[in-house]
């Protein structure tokens, strides 16, 4: 028993850098949003207008629910009897991650991809495409499922919807500028609130544009960090960082080889995701919600080394 390492620390340790950067991004978003709300209040945007906008945005987030996303992507819920092997491995991983086993959904496209949705683990669904199952071998599929499970465990859908809430408010104000300006103007004319006027309206509009732009970058950054976290989770759950690395490589090759007809089919679905309120495991760099393949593989290799050192 001398060969045994007398340590109860898990082999994967902690990624302090990643947690720190994630925390910093969330802090910056929070600070940005706090400043935004302050500007809105200082510019004396009528409370009624403000509440209407908040409710509308909140409603749109709720209505853009999981069921609609699933339906729009053409996914079909799989019964366990249909794909017993897939369900078995998912059950094992869920038990390991201490999550209820999510439902599995099937998307009939050659594009290899997968995504997880659900604001809480109880309602979570993992969708996989036919291309993913055809191209990847069992251990690689397992790694992809573990990546999606980590998104569920980290509540990424909820975190990113929350993170993008005020960004959507800002976007709404920019787009519905005339409506907002009208209510502020009306308020001023009636002598309520007593302030504002043209300058205030422009201030609100400018602030919204700035918040929209900065938050866009911050949310994308946060999204990429959460992809790294999910990759890490996959390595931890499967115990093999290499599985996900080869899976990601195959997915990238698969995406490149996918006929544009099939890509278009998914594009229409991507258009549905206005904000990354839905986690989508894709190596399509155009979204930039995901880090590059090279970076992800570098991290996985680092994790593999860390494992060997233990």
């Amino acid at each position: 028993m001398t060969t045994m390492a007398k340590s109860t620390r898990p082999w994967y340790g902690r990624d302090v850098g990643l947690s720190f950067r994630m925390g910093l991004t969330m802090f910056l978003l929070l600070a940005l949003y706090a400043a935004f709300v302050l500007v809105l209040l200082l510019a004396q945007v009528p409370l009624f207008t403000l509440i209407t906008v908040l409710v509308l945005v909140a409603l749109s987030q709720v209505l853009l629910s999981d069921q609609i996303v699933l339906w729009a992507s053409g996914a079909r819920i799989l019964r366990p009897e249909e794909t017993p092997e897939l369900h078995r491995i998912l059950t094992r991983l869920a038990q390991l991650a201490d999550l209820p086993t999510p439902k599995l959904a099937w998307i009939n496209t050659r594009l290899p991809n997968a995504f997880a949705i659900g604001k809480n683990p109880k309602s979570a669904v993992i969708a996989v495409t036919r291309g993913l199952i055809e191209r990847l071998d069992a251990s690689e599929i397992e790694a992809v499922l573990a990546h999606e499970l980590t998104h569920i465990k980290n509540r990424d859908v909820a975190v990113l919807s929350l993170a993008s809430f005020f960004a959507m408010v800002a976007a709404f104000i920019v787009q519905q500028f005339f409506f907002i300006g009208f209510t502020m103007e009306g308020d001023r004319r009636q002598g309520r609130g007593g302030g504002g006027g043209g300058q205030a309206i422009i201030l609100v509009w400018l602030a919204s544009v700035v918040v929209w732009a900065i938050s866009y970058v911050l949310i994308r950054t946060l999204s990429r960090y959460r992809e790294y976290a999910a990759d890490r989770g996959s390595a931890i759950l499967t115990g093999h960082p290499g599985y996900l690395a080869t899976a990601l490589q195959k997915i990238q090759t698969g995406v490149r080889q996918t006929p544009s007809r099939d890509l278009r089919q998914v594009e229409s679905m991507s258009a549905f995701f206005i904000f990354p309120a839905v986690r989508k495991d894709s190596v399509m760099e155009i979204f930039a919600t995901h880090p590059s393949l090279e970076h992800r593989i570098q991290r996985l290799e680092k994790l593999q080394q860390q494992m060997e050192k233990k």
Partner: protein, 184 residues
């Protein structure tokens, strides 16, 4: 893993909780009398095999530990790797008490080596059904397979009801993860 961990995307697996396994010792009588099921002589730990050389060393240590303890320990040990990358450490012997102790020692060894989070479940055979202990949640749940992918849920609920006072039974049926085709 708390809210804070989720917020910062820190994947942490809850360390395997091993101690509640001993509750089975006292519940054994209930299982025998109230469920009319005798211990089937087979039990196993299911764990995730990790890609690591230190992990390989554990399996050697395990063999030493369980074979050394052999004098007052009437169980034979075997390993089984299933097609999903999980390792089964199987104890075969007539006595449930030996199986509980053996599995606990095994789990302890794995824990000390820093692989507590790869402990998935302990499984005990009772006649035609199984009792599964979940290391994540420190709870037990019944598993009555009737085929390769079907289970008799009504009977599982009855077993849960019967053992609810004797064992920490898992309340949420969604967490009654099936372990299909067990090699025990």
């Amino acid at each position: 893993m708390g809210l804070f961990d989720a917020l910062f995307g820190r994947t942490k697996l809850s360390p395997g909780k091993t101690d509640a396994l001993f509750a089975l010792s006292t519940a054994a009588l209930d299982i025998e009398t109230r469920l009319d099921s005798a211990y089937g002589g087979k039990a196993a730990i299911v764990l995730r095999a990790v890609d690591n050389s230190a992990y390989d060393a554990i399996s050697k240590d395990l063999h030493d530990l369980l074979n050394l303890g052999g004098r007052d320990f009437r169980a034979s040990v075997s390993m089984h790797q299933d097609n999903m990358g999980f390792q089964w450490i199987i104890l075969e012997g007539p006595d449930l008490e030996d199986a509980i102790n053996g599995l606990h020692m095994t789990a302890d060894l794995i824990k000390q080596a820093g692989f507590a989070d790869s402990l998935l479940a302990a499984m005990f055979r009772f006649g035609d059904w199984y009792l599964i202990y979940s290391y994540r949640r420190a709870t037990f749940y019944p598993f009555v397979p009737t085929g390769r992918s079907s289970r008799q849920e009504s009977r599982e609920f009855r077993i849960r009801q019967t053992l609810a006072n004797a064992l920490p039974m898992e309340k949420d049926p969604e967490r009654w993860y099936p372990l299909w085709d067990p090699p025990i």
